[in-house]
Symmetry: C2
Subunit: 401 residues, 2 copies
């Protein structure tokens, strides 16, 4: 069986994602689509709107055949590491190719850009350092440094999906992987759009906005019916839609009951950020106002949100480094279709990583971190139950026909 | 000016307390009543129903002239340490006497009992150890050991106010203090009563029960009008009445995001209690059910609640020991009447401890612990403000004419 891979968050699953899955199957002629998906916390340093189990169901209903969890350590990291973890897992799962959405839509442009950048890597690194010493955040410095290289501007690396695609290809080269990259041009919506546009495609950001508003029906035409129904059901199920505001009371409690020294032990809390966090928390009644106070030129909003995530989840530097010292050690299956099951059966013997379907039977450090963060996520979901542990440790993969 | 001292929690202030203050003034002929009062967390390991500021106001309206804070480290300790801190502060504030409510009502009985117990101290200590090795909790072992001594049963030390009185007198002897003890027989209500009785006196426990119920008016006849109005106002001010349930989400978050080893660093978390806490938390949707699961013969309910309090407030063993290594280092004034102010003026020069009226101007470790716990308390009070810090650091003493 031929398998292609996609890297997704589905926060939530919408028409653009549906189109991406269909097109991936068409252009790769794959029998099976493997989706590497973030768990409960996402790359922009945010809790997912819906739990990984709900999002896995969406993925399977939407056209994926197998959903593999991208571990927390990778799912909440900057683009290079996020991409490395994702491509590593797709390769480990036996995908022949992977297929990402991009603003560009032309895979050879990615290759050429990467070749050129590699040949000028020394200049590039020097430029990045120079801009960072001037106080620019890493992404800004990288973009500026890149702009100074002698590379024709065929690939616009200010676009978020182009950046990720670039990192996917770089990771697959680094891994010496035979996995073949494809890209599909994204339709209409810009990643950062905050308003719903015409047509049936909108950004996940704009869709989330609509979903949280008084009129959730506004979002209906931008999602497949099965997604919309699931989201609506969760919203009616009082307070089950997650965002940072729900976790702010816990974050604030953590900040106000910890010393700067304790906070500094958490991953990505550096250079006195602990003191800024404590100060910003004092006057802030919402996560939004807290973040606004915390923001400086030095760090991007995303980078700061990630640091907050690690404080919330109490992820210490040591723990994170230990996990990141080696590539992911297992393939955790969150769900599959009948086709996904067949595919797994066909490759099982040749896989180099163990398959994890029930967490309670395994002892990987990455899974412990996953469980720890999932319990925190569950507390935001509802203060009146803790079936979360059972859910995390004993839920069998979601099955969809 | 002549001053007498009382040791109080006022959770909340009721007619029994009002009577105690009046009688204390009568029998001691004091010009000024100094109340040493616990802050936001109490001896039974519980958050106070109302903040220390509201309870200070009650105390002053009810007849006290000066309210001094009993630091967290003492306020949440077992009877001997609670009593030591309280009597030490009363002595430091220049009180000539102190006056406690008791079931006995006869101060000479306390003295005699103490003399007899001292003379048989070796037997007593041996008995306590023996009972504890049999698995009894410390208070049970102490009561049983005491029962085995050759002491006529004139003082019933199974009664909570008798125990405290006994410890007050013992502390004052230990301190070699000239401060003279008086006691007043408590009227009607038993400390542990859970139902409102006839007459106008009920236990604070029964009053709290009524206050939390649908019909707060049931409690009205057991409190002075100024107390009742304050409590009612706070209850209407959505959710400002505190109990453990309000803090359970935070405690649970702390338990689920901490390792057993981290929990074991907190004060009074010992002998594997950390593991029991984590297990009990998993299935418990309320603090009540959590505690029921946590309870064993080895520990009293109160002792376990205190351990929970230290986990909630993140009070580490080291921090606590450092503070308890020396007696309280300051006198923190929470409030005063005109008489209290005059009294302070008259003794100011002879006081050996510094007076603290505004916390922000001082740097004592005990005050830092106080602030830390007050911020946690404030978070339970309302998730939508953090004026708590200002309140803790900058509130001047409450003044009542």
């Amino acid at each position: 069986m031929r398998a292609t891979g996609v890297v997704v968050e589905y926060n939530p699953f919408h028409n653009g994602h549906y189109y991406h899955l269909q097109e991936s199957r068409n252009i790769t002629q794959a029998d099976c689509i493997i989706a590497v998906m973030s768990g409960n916390f996402l790359q922009r340093g945010e809790p997912a709107l819906l739990s990984k189990w709900k999002r896995t169901k969406m993925a399977l209903l939407g056209g994926a055949d197998l959903v593999i969890e991208l571990p927390y350590a990778y799912a909440t990291s900057h683009a290079p590491r996020f991409a490395f973890g994702s491509i590593f897992l797709l390769q480990a799962a036996g995908a022949d190719s992977f297929c990402f959405g991009s603003e560009s839509g032309n895979v050879s442009v990615f290759h050429e850009t990467l070749d050129l950048a590699n040949s000028q890597d020394q200049d590039y690194q020097a430029n990045v350092s120079e801009y960072m010493s001037q106080g620019f955040s890493y992404p800004s410095a990288a973009a500026k440094a890149y702009g100074q290289l002698n590379i024709p501007l065929t690939l616009d690396l200010s676009k978020p999906n182009n950046i990720l695609g670039y990192e996917y290809i770089r990771a697959s080269r680094e891994l010496g992987s035979a996995i073949k990259p494809f890209t599909i041009k994204r339709k209409n919506a810009d990643y950062h759009d905050v308003v719903l546009g015409k047509g049936d495609i909108a950004s996940a950001t704009a869709i989330r906005e609509a979903v949280f508003s008084h009129d959730i029906e506004k979002a209906a035409s931008y999602m497949p019916a099965f997604t919309f129904d699931l989201v609506k059901e969760e919203k009616q199920n009082k307070g089950a839609l997650m965002n940072w505001e729900r976790f702010y009371p816990l974050l604030r409690y953590q900040l106000l009951s910890s010393s700067p020294c304790e906070l500094n032990r958490f991953y990505e809390v550096e250079e006195g950020l602990e003191n800024r966090m404590i100060e910003a928390m004092k006057e802030s009644e919402s996560f939004q106002s807290f973040m606004t106070r915390l923001k400086t030129k030095r760090y991007t909003w995303t980078r700061l949100q990630r640091a907050c995530l690690h404080v919330l989840n109490k992820i210490q530097k040591d723990d994170m480094h230990r996990i990141l010292d080696a590539p992911p050690a297992y393939l955790r299956i969150l769900g599959m279709t009948e086709t996904g099951r067949e595919y797994l059966g066909s490759v099982k013997k040749s896989l180099e990583l163990p398959l994890v379907t029930t967490v309670s039977k395994h002892d990987f450090e990455g899974l412990k971190m996953e469980a720890k963060t999932s319990l925190v996520y569950a507390q935001g979901a509802s203060l009146n139950r803790l079936d979360a542990e059972k859910e995390e440790y004993n839920t069998p993969p979601v099955m969809v026909k």
